[in-house]
């Protein structure tokens, strides 16, 4: 679960590392973006001028690593003006992330 916005902290990046590790070791894993974390999914991020790497580019490796799904909390997306049109590809909108949560045996934040 990623509920923190990109670039301001490293928590989201370290959550991504956790997800990729699980997938690399053949564990079933999905990533759920909630709250300000949905801003990870906005298209056209250009972090060159703050000397960071694009988190969207990192995320695009998720299917290759074997991450099963990228879920985005629909209410949070509405709050931040995010629709499938201005988001990166491959995201599944989730109307009730608390219901989704109950379907998983483990759920964790990176910090």
């Amino acid at each position: 679960m990623i509920d923190q916005s990109p670039y301001g902290t490293w928590v989201g990046r370290e959550a991504l590392d956790m997800a990729f590790s699980l997938a690399a070791f053949d564990q079933a894993v999905s990533i759920l973006f909630t709250d300000t974390g949905v801003n990870w999914l906005r298209a056209f991020q250009q972090p060159n001028d703050i000397a960071q790497k694009s988190v969207a580019k990192n995320l695009s490796a998720a299917p290759i690593f074997g991450v099963e799904a990228l879920y985005a909390d629909a209410a949070a997306c509405r709050r931040y003006g995010l629709t499938l049109d201005n988001m990166i590809e491959g995201v599944v909108m989730c109307e009730s992330s608390s219901e989704l949560l109950h379907q998983f045996a483990h759920a964790a934040f990176a910090g």
Partner: protein
């Protein structure tokens, strides 16, 4: 360019407790600068009523895919941010 009484520099997301405190502390003659994750305020659909000039640090907005600026908000780069802090009598970093 008019002098600024207090320049409020905010680097927290819109829902953060310190964002709310910052909005509460704005007074006529002040100015507000969004940096880092605070630039996400540009993307939210609910805009609080702000009666002071609002600036946004462009590199942070661009990084987050928010290159287009709403009306009434001025994009600044780092040199212009320096100017703002030089013009303000006081600066509060929230």
């Amino acid at each position: 360019m008019a002098l600024i009484h207090t320049l409020h520099i905010l680097n927290k997301t819109p829902g953060h407790a310190r964002s709310l405190q910052c909005m509460d502390a704005l007074r006529p003659g002040d100015a507000l600068l969004f940096t880092e994750s605070a630039v996400l305020a540009l993307a939210t659909q609910q805009h609080p009523e702000i009666d002071v000039p609002v600036f946004v640090l462009a590199p942070d907005a661009l990084a987050r895919g928010l290159g287009q600026c709403p009306d009434g908000v001025t994009q600044v780069d780092f040199p212009a941010m320096v100017d703002l802090t030089a013009q303000a009598q006081t600066v509060i970093s929230w």
